[in-house]
C-alpha cells in the first residue's frame, strides 16, 4: 500500500513535509519485506545527519537493516514509543513515524519520489 500525499525514497522511507520540518517513517512495502520487527535503534535528538547517511536500524526476526535519511536534517524528535512497541511499524507503518527533523536543504526534496512515482520494488 502506498499512502497518497507523501514523498518517498528509493530505499523505502516516506517523508511528510510540513514547512521546514519533515516526519520520516518506513513504507508499508519495507515493513512487509522485513517481516516481524522486533527492535528499532533510534538516533539522538540534536544529531545532524547528512543525506544518504544512516539514521538508525530496524531489526526483524530475519534481518537487520539500516534506515537512510533521503535528505539532510537535524533530528528534532524521535518516536520513543517504538522502543517498547517496535511492532507498530508492522501494524501501522504510515501512522508510526520514526523521526521528525529540521530540513537543512530544501533543494534535496526534489530528488524524492511522489506517491505516483514510488514503486514497491526492491
Amino acid at each position: 500500500m502506498i499512502k497518497k500525499g507523501l514523498l518517498y525514497a528509493k530505499s523505502h522511507e516516506w517523508l511528510n513535509v510540513d514547512g521546514k520540518t519533515a516526519t520520516v517513517g518506513i513504507s508499508d512495502h519495507a515493513q512487509d519485506n522485513l517481516g516481524d520487527v522486533v527492535f528499532i535503534e533510534l538516533p539522538q535528538v540534536g544529531q545532524t545527519i547528512k543525506k544518504g547517511e544512516s539514521f538508525g536500524a530496524v531489526e526483524s526476526v530475519k534481518a537487520a537493516s539500516d534506515m537512510y535519511l533521503p535528505i539532510s536534517g537535524k533530528i528534532l524528535e524521535v518516536n520513543s514509543a517504538l522502543e517498547n512497541t517496535p511492532e507498530l511499524l508492522n501494524s501501522d507503518p504510515y501512522g508510526s513515524w520514526i523521526v521528525k527533523l529540521e530540513i537543512l536543504d530544501e533543494k534535496e526534496l526534489d530528488s524524492l519520489l511522489k506517491d505516483s512515482e514510488y514503486k514497491e520494488e526492491d
Binding site: V38, F39, E41, A57, E59, S60, K62, A63, A64, D66
Partner: protein, 437 residues
Amino acid sequence: MHKYLPHTQNDINEMLEKIQASSIDDLFCSIPEALRLKKDYHVPSQLGDWELTKHMQELANQNKELLIFRGAGSYDHYTPSAVKALVSRQEFLTSYTPYQPEVAQGTLQYIFEYQSMVCELTGMDVSNASMYDGATSTAEAMFMAYAQTKKSDILVSSTMNPKIIDVIKTYARYRNINVILIPSIDGVTDQAFIKENIKDKMGVIVSNPNYFGIIEDYQNLGEIIHQEDALFILNQEGQSLALLKTPGELDADIACGDLQALGVPLSFGGAYIGYLATKQKLVRKMPGRICGITTDVDGKRAFVLTLQAREQHIRRAKANSNICSNQSLNALFVTIYLSLVGKNGFKLFASESLNGAHYLYKNLLETKKFEIVYNQPFFKEFVLKASFDVKAFDTYLIDHGILGPLHIGDNNLLFAVTEKRTQEEIDLLVEMVVNFK
C-alpha cells in the same frame, strides 16, 4: 604451486608489501630474539607407527613437570577428572553447528546452561556464548561501549594485566579509538583521575583483582561513570567471582574476563575462554552468539540461537563486532566444572587459593628477604620485592622443580597460589627461599 600451499611467492611478496614487512620473520618481531628457533626443525620425513610412538614418548620424557607458583593470567587450578572424560564424549565433539537448532539441541542446551551460569556468577542479565579469552572479551566490551555511546575515547586502568591492555590497544587502533591509561597509586587505580577525566569518554575499563592480585575498591565507581553517561566495564578473573562483589553488585554495565581457572587446563597459553555479560539494555550491542530457550509448535522445550539479526553473519560489515566463533568446547569445560563442584565447591576452592596466598605471603616476609611493595588486600596473587638476584632465583627454582614467581621488573616478583598448592608445597617454596644464597 603445491596443492596444500595456496600462496605463491608472488602472493607472499604482495602481502608483505601491503603491510610493509620486509620478510616473513618480520611478522614475529614481537617474539623476543632469544626465544626464536634459529635452526631447522629437523622433522623426520616418515616413521612407522611403533617408531613414531616411541619417538613421541622420548620427547614427552624430556618434559619436566614443575610445581607452579606463577599466575598472571593463567593458573594451575584443580579440574575434577570427570570434566575431561565428559568433555571428550563424542556427542559434544561431533555436534552440528547450532545454526540448525533442530539437529543441535544438545550443543544449544549446554551453551544456554553456560550463559545462565555466567549470569549468576556476574550478576548480569545476559551473557554470550563465550569469547576467545579474557583479553579479547575485554576489547569486545570496549567495542560495545563505542557502539552505545558513539564516543571515541576510553579510560583504561594501568593496573590491568599489560597483555590485556595490549589487546585493547590493538583493537582500538582499527576503530580509531583513543585509549587513555589511568595512572595508579600504590598499586590501585587512581579514581580521582577518572572523576576528573570521565567527561565525553565512552567508558572506563578496570580489573579486579588487578594485575598485582590486589582487590580494588570499586564501590562508588559506577556512580561517577554513569553521571557522564559512560559505561563501566569490569574485567574480573573467574575464580574471584566466588568471593568478591560481583560486577552486577558494583553496578557495572559490562562484565568480562577469563574463566580458565574454572576447569580449563593450562595448555601452553591457550586456548582459554573469555566471558562477556551485560545488562539487558546493551544486549543488542553484544557480539557473538546468544542461545535462548523457547517452546516449539508442539509446546515442547527448545533451544535456539537468538538475536542473530544483530550479528555479523547478517549485518556483516555493519555489525558491532565481526567475531563469529566462540570457545564452545572450553565453555563446556566451565559448564561441567561448575556443575560438578557446585556452589560450595566453587567458594571453597576460591577460599583455599586466597588462604594459601596469604599463608605464603606471611611466611615469605618472615624470611626477611622481601619487602612489601603494596600494602593492599589481595586475592591469590601478590607482589614482593626481593633483596636478591631474581634471575638466578628463577633458575634455581626451576632446577629444583618449581616454576617460581613472575619477574615484573624492579626486582618485584608476582607470586600466585591456587587451591592445588598444599601447605607442604608452600612450605617447600619458603624453604627454597631460605636456602637460596
